[in-house]
Amino acid sequence: MLTDLEVGLYIFMLATFLGLEIIRRVSPLLHTPLMSLTNAISAIAVVGSILVTGAAHASTLSRTLGFIAVTASMTNAVSGYLITDRMLKMFKTRKPGGDRKGAA
């Protein structure tokens, strides 16, 4: 049987290769929104932060650090997704006839 660590390493390796393949195909046009999107996704640290903050019999230290961590991740998630969408809305193309059309 594989240990947790070994399973984790397999997942990490495959996710990194997948990430490299997907990101390589992202248009350089969108590199700034891409970075703010991955910023928002890295707010996934919120999972660990919630577990630390909400655990039974957590010490004051854990709860304080966890509270700051949840706040920081939540700020990242909210602002990251909203600003990415705000940027993407600006990317318009001009259709024949002069109309500008949103990216969506």
Partner: protein, 461 residues
């Protein structure tokens, strides 16, 4: 039962993150990507709240409210020119969260073995990315001096601090009970983050931001190993690989290596320039009226914008020029160098904000072959990325850097305040070519005049 459900929710969440990035491939699907990302995050949060380990919701709810209240203005009130700063700040927050969770876990469980290795990684990367990103934020916001700060034996000092931090980390892995060492380990990581960014100049910020992005992702992945959470491993790995690719793109665009960016203190003013440049050379300058006549007679125009355009707040005037020329049947394209702007892809966002259609924005590799057929290449607020010395002059500090081939167009126009050398202090032979017309003035004011003169030309015709 619930815990099994949570695992399936996490799997779905991971899949949504993958789709989210996949849909960033083109502007047509990108907003769907944001939606997938939001859904993935929502599932991750809901799933985590459902777990039986989570019993106390008060603090979590309070943190959610504060985070949301802080996040909304950060997203809507930021001008697009400030997106690099916001991104740096956001790397800092993400890394801080990872580092604090690592710290809390250490004091709660004092883990051993592989988990402790992961925890040390998470905390080291988290704290150094936190202070490093705060420094990057300070430099981009110009609270801190943007020029690189160097001192004697800088690399030796920095590497010794890193060495000490790693040594403390290894000691903690071997003997996790040495609790006195943990604060020292944290302090060393924090100090190294600061020292890492001190010698890095403004020109290298795009690379550094991308690199910090990668570190923030890796610390989240390390948290996944420390907590045995596979969703964190996947999301962190995706984030880490994205930052890695972007920093490689940036390094390539400047013909530099990682080591050179991190330890080379680039952006130092190259004082040795001069010498051969002392001889008298003539430049041709032109007025807005003359420039308007040439533009009016052109069939194809390629515009090469640089960050100076944004500094002069001239994006919207440029849009007016684009509209005027397009209406008169001129084919107008924009040539975007990867490092035009302060973070990867920044110039595209600035032009999109000014309502310039994105199908007119072309990457360097796609547009360079078109310059020889272009009647006019108009350079605005860009300098080094158009410097032909990068192609031919082996002694130039930017030799080998890929550039926009504006000098191959029939006529080159450069809007520039004066002849003073740019940001990196490197002389640009483009300005002395016979076919180059220097349009002296502030970018915004000159573009305003240019639009006015074009209207006059149109009336006269």
């Amino acid at each position: 039962m619930t815990d099994t459900a949570v695992q399936y929710i996490y799997i779905l969440s991971a899949a949504l993150f993958v789709f989210s990035l996949k849909w960033m491939r083109s502007p047509a699907t990108a907003r769907r990507g944001v939606f997938a990302g939001e859904a993935g995050m929502l599932l991750a949060i809901v799933g985590t709240l459902m777990r039986h380990e989570v019993v106390d919701y008060k603090l979590i709810a309070a943190a959610f409210v504060i985070g949301t209240v802080a996040g909304i203005p950060l997203a809507y009130l930021m001008p697009m020119t400030a997106v690099p700063q916001r991104t740096a700040l956001s790397h800092a927050f993400g890394a801080l969260a990872a580092a604090l969770v690592g710290t809390a876990e250490y004091y709660r469980a004092t883990p051993h073995g592989a988990v402790m290795v992961a925890l040390v990684f998470e905390t080291l990367l988290g704290f150094l990315t936190f202070t490093g990103s705060m420094m990057a934020f300070g430099k981009l916001q110009e609270i801190l001096p943007t020029r690189p700060i160097t001192y004697r034996n800088q690399n030796v000092i920095n590497l010794s601090i890193l060495g000490l931090a790693v040594a403390a980390g290894v000691w903690l892995i071997v003997q996790p009970e040495q609790a006195w060492l943990f604060p020292i380990f944290i302090a060393l990581s924090l100090v190294f983050g600061v020292l890492l960014i001190v010698p890095i100049g403004g020109a290298d910020m795009p690379t550094v931001i991308a690199l910090l992005n990668s570190y923030a992702g890796l610390s989240a992945a390390a948290m996944g190993f420390a907590l045995g959470n596979r969703l964190l491993i996947i999301a962190g790995a995706l984030d880490g690989s994205s930052g890695l690719i972007l920093s490689i793109v940036m390094c390539r665009a400047m013909n530099r290596s990682f080591t050179n960016v991190l330890f080379g203190a680039f952006g130092q003013v190259q004082t040795k320039a001069g010498g051969a440049a002392e001889e008298q050379r003539t430049v041709h300058s032109a007025s807005a009226e003359e420039a308007a006549q040439i533009l009016d007679a052109a069939r194809s125009v390629i515009i090469a914008p640089g960050y100076g355009l944004a500094v002069a707040q001239a994006q919207h005037k440029l849009r007016e020029l684009y509209d005027t020329l397009t209406r008169r049947g001129v084919d107008v394209k924009f040539a975007i160098h990867p490092v035009a702007g302060r973070m990867p892809g920044h110039m595209n966002v600035l032009l999109a904000e000014a309502d310039i259609p994105y199908d007119r924005l072309f990457e360097m590799d796609d547009i360079n072959s078109e310059f020889p057929q272009a009647d006019v290449a108009l350079v605005i607020g860009a300098n080094d990325v158009t410097n032909p010395a990068a192609r031919s002059d082996k002694s130039s500090p930017i030799y080998g850097m890929p550039i926009l081939d504006v000098d191959k167009a029939r006529t080159v126009m450069v809007i520039k305040r004066s002849m003073s050398p740019g940001f990196a202090g490197i002389d640009n032979p483009l300005y002395y070519l016979d076919k180059t017309l220097m349009l002296f003035g502030d970018a915004k004011a000159f573009l305003t005049d240019l639009v006015k003169e074009l209207a006059e030309v149109a009336k006269a015709a």
